[in-house]
Amino acid sequence: MSNPPDIVTGETETYPQMGESEALPEPPEKPTPSRRRTLHDMWVSGTEAPVDTGRFTDEGAQEMLAEEEPDVLAGQRGTLVVDDYDEAAVSDEETQIVNMGPQHPATHGVLRLQLELEGETIRRVKPIIGYLHTGMERTGEALTFMQGPTNVTRMDYLSPFHNELCFSLAVERLLDLEVPPRARAIRILMTELNRVASHLLWAATTGLDIGALSMMIYGWREREACLAFFEKTTGLRMNHNYIRPGGVAADLPDGWEDDLVAIEETVLEGLADYEGLLMENPIFLERTQGVGVLTPEECYAYGVTGVLARASGIDFDIRKTFPYSGIEQYEFDVPTAEHGDVYDRFVLRFEEVRQSLGIVRQAAESMPLGDYRSEDRKVTPPPRARIDQSMEALIHHFKIFTEGFKVPEGEVYQAVESPRGELGMYIVSNGGAKPWRIHVRGPSFAHVQALPAMLTDSLIADTIAALASADPVMGDVDR
């Protein structure tokens, strides 16, 4: 069984299977530590005999055990990096392991948290992920470089433009291809608008989780304005496949300037409403201040980037330290705070929406003219009309759309500042038309891993607020 056959030639790219290759020696199966029960035996309530667990989910080995080794226990308590856990104050009340499982309204997707509860206080947390694993990195290896953005844009479905931009920048660095200034400006404009839309959705769902139900309605109202502009430009509300290696798919529609002005107005107006609604609300302050705290050392150790790191006082924003796609010409600043709790993350994200709107305005005003795709006809298909006139354009068109353009051999790591943090892509190319390996470093993966450090020893209600403030997108985590 190998990848689907090539469209034109029909022959399949056969990799040596286990049998026919020169008998790759079977690696000795290293016994993983056996103390994890491989398949937990279970008593279904109401029956006497243990039930055959064939049909049930058997994440036995990944689940939390009652007694754990000291190092595993430290990991689940989140005291690996900063050990401020007051052992003495833990009473010996009976604890209970509860599932905040894959189908849960407040886990922002299919994340499963196993919590050990002592009354309402959480003693240990073990995140279990993989419920949305789509094998995208394997699918990426079967698609050509030009089809890559369609696969990659579905990973972090709240910021599709950032995925596409990161992939395209990485491929362009491999190709050593220069993208015209208009394409670079359009890319920055779309990704920053995408950051606004993503933060609006985050504010809506987090407000809903914390109890400010009307936030859900307001947040979506502004986001619809942004999505309408995306649909007008790229044709789709989400998963656009708009930013491609070599430029963007289409030019901006006419009348885009006043669309952007209208968007900026509604979003800023909406933002003023949210801050009026939330920022001085005593219930909101009680629910968010001093909750879900991450210390800077933990951010360094766990690889937590983006708003969570800036809330803890680390001044790191890829748009400033490793500028990409010409963003250094726009003037914006990166707010930071020092508590690292949920309230600071709220303040920072609202401030980031304002900064991004500023960038969008500057990009709109100084939008250079010219082509929106690179001139190198080997990479970007020629305009449709040219194909009828010139034979060479026809050949280019045929070559690009059947077997795809060849990317020289090499490996590259490109990072972009997505609304959740550092989104990195490590692409290895073996000189062919399909990438040999794509690894996507999702920011939410590191944030889910830092959850035990944020959640232990707080109340269950605080879990919801802290988890929502980390803004994990499960497509980003499980890929």
């Binding site: 008593w43 989910t57 206080t121 201040q289 020893d457």
Partner: protein
């Protein structure tokens, strides 16, 4: 009080019992009834439950339940007074005032004993956040 005075109450009672009865009978007869083992399982967010749900809940839960009962019943007593408070005049207000004061006293006692706060914060990081704010106010 002639019998007719009680007519509206009787009518109301019939209406209530009738509505409840009809809706139960209708839903029992029309809705499909199909208890499967999965439905009888406790719901754990889609995961099949590992072990029996904990029988003995920590005592804090019962404490909160009892406090709720006390203050809820207090409101029920106020209903009687609220129905005729115009005729009862100041005498009524005084009586209810003493009753409420008694309960406020229990509330203060319970609050001071710390039965209401759940927030057991052992980790230094939570205290650090408060300290940073306090320091800022002081400065």
């Amino acid at each position: 009080m002639t019998l007719s005075a009680y007519l509206p109450i009787a009518l109301m009672f019939l209406l209530v019992v009738g509505f409840a009865g009809i809706s139960m009978v209708l839903s029992r007869s029309l809705a499909p009834h199909n208890p499967t083992p999965e439905k009888l399982d406790p719901y754990e967010c889609g995961i099949v439950p590992l072990q029996e749900p904990l029988q003995r809940f920590p005592v804090k839960f019962y404490l909160v339940a009892m406090l709720f009962v006390i203050f809820d019943i207090e409101i029920v007593f106020l209903f009687a007074w609220a129905a005729r408070f115009v005729d009862l005049g100041w005498y009524g207000v005084a009586a209810v005032g003493i009753f409420t004061l008694l309960l406020i006293e229990t509330l203060v006692y319970v609050w001071k004993r710390g039965a209401l706060d759940w927030n057991v914060q052992h980790r230094a990081r939570y205290r650090r956040v408060v300290a940073v704010d306090a320091a800022k106010e002081a400065a």
